[in-house]
Amino acid sequence: MEYVIVGASAAGMAAAEAIRKRDPTAEIVMLSDEAHPPYYRPLIPYLIHQGKTGDEILREPRLTPAHLDLRLKARATGLDPAKHTLALTDGSTIAYDRLLLATGASPIRPNIEGLDGPGVFTLRTWEDALGIAKAAQGAKSAIILGAGRIGMKSAFALRHLGLSVTVVELLDRIVPQQLDAESAAIFAEAVAKAGIETILGHTIKQVNRRGKKVTSVTLDDGRELEADLIVVGVGVRANLDLAAEGGLQTGRGLIVDEHLLTSDPNIYAAGDVVETKDIVSGEPIVSGIWTNAAAMGQIAGDNMAGGNSTYAGAFSLLNAMELGGLPVISVGEVHRTTGADIEVFAERHGSNYRKLVFRGDRLIGLILVGQIERAGVYQTLIREKANVSTLRRELLGSRFHYGHYILLQPKKIDRYVMAG
């Protein structure tokens, strides 16, 4: 059996590992269109301020499946599902018995006058990070468009290098996907303390250049801000070219069934490219989250090698991070605060914040800032759609733990005592 995996990040690697587990001798070819060996994509912001070297973000050999036929700078542009072949840009073709498309996503470049050209960056790859690092040398000021995770990580990295940094965000708060108004306010303090300026409720109308060099940006209200470089972090879009080439069914992402099988019986998909369903709401979702991608890869790989694993769906939010020394974990539907059966509990003490969103007897969303201990137990309740009606009091306290959960899930006790 010949397995071919397109993509060498979270989903691709998890799939290779799952295949290897079931089939110790199978041939696994992995294609990466990047020049660098597989690395931990979430760590690339560290390359901007040399917080880590390239070697330090490489995937650990102990976490890389054995005998992987890894081909770098290999970009597949053709897919023929009838012949079971991929066509590469170098003119070669690769045959597969089972194919995984883990082609990921690419940063969106908004339509802004003057945006195209040198000095404007997105941050998705190792090379992107090196490009920003190089541009930062000798630069005095940077503008970040978008206050999401990528935008804020870029802002902190560039601030670390001593640049004056301004983040421009169209919405009314920073990290708007992951934070609500209250928690964003807590982080706004940490961001301001780091010397990063934020402009909320506005966007960039125009990038101004002298010759090719970026000199400033003009905001939608006419304000002009000096800038030597610009980082754009306004989201990503699924890389669907190869899927479309193969005639596979696509929507906003590559459409799969609960086994992560595409519309072709020999082609699976996992990670940021996939359109699956939201585990909480059941609505279609293209996730773009590392943790979801790794989970999908594991299931797709297992199924490719003869398993029968099903994927329950992706979380719209499943993010942990530390920003300005303050940790936050956000899971599920944290922004749904009105509607039938919706109840919200929120409590702030200084920079500690806890928000729980309930729908009927279920917990559907969680934000923890500061004290994030045992967040995984809450996450499990959301994932399992557990009836928490009798746990309400414990959940609202800050001492909720696995012991509460286990007593209400008698079936789990056996597994717990049996050591996993």
């Binding site: 943790t291 995984g376 414990e394 007593l407």
Partner: protein, 162 residues
């Protein structure tokens, strides 16, 4: 492959396991000297109470460990020799993804270092410090294979029952 088994019905919540765990994971490994160390020694096992019962809460070193799958920096890994799930502090960046995904809530945070801490089954010891010190034998360190299914069931019903 040895694992820690818990018998919640024997647990008195004396928390000796928590204390001995923290001491074992300190530099001095001494109950008088360890508490004043920097960074502060931390326990990786927990005893909690719920509904009037005492419940030791331990890392299960899961077969499909969510913390290993989700780790964004390659810090969480499975030791090929012991099969234990370990955290390589040198790779940990303190993003807390492991805290978010651990269903048992047993990945802790060493705040002074900004690193995740978890049970490592005390690789330098024959028997983990928590098990060796448990005065009521609520904790056992046994080969998974040899630990009979009936015995496990007994424990399970002890927790579930009454």
């Amino acid at each position: 492959m040895k694992r820690i088994f818990v018998q919640p019905d024997l647990c008195t919540a004396c928390k000796t396991c928590e204390i001995q765990c923290a001491i074992e994971h300190s530099q001095a490994k001494n109950i008088f000297a360890s508490p004043s160390e920097k960074p502060h020694p931390m326990n990786r096992v927990y005893v909690e109470a719920a509904d009037g019962r005492k419940i030791p809460i331990f890392c299960r070193h899961c077969d499909e460990a969510p913390c290993v799958a989700a780790c964004i920096s390659g810090a969480m890994f499975r030791d090929p020799k012991t099969d234990a799930v370990m955290c390589d502090a040198s790779r940990c960046i303190g993003c807390w993804t492991c805290v978010m995904v651990c269903p048992y809530g047993v990945v802790g945070r060493q705040l002074e270092l900004g690193k995740a801490v978890k049970c490592d089954l005390c690789p330098e010891r024959e028997s983990p410090a928590c098990v060796a010190s448990c005065p009521t034998k609520a904790l056992l360190y046994e080969e998974v294979e040899g630990f009979s299914k009936n015995k496990r069931r007994e424990f399970a019903s002890a927790v579930a029952g009454g």
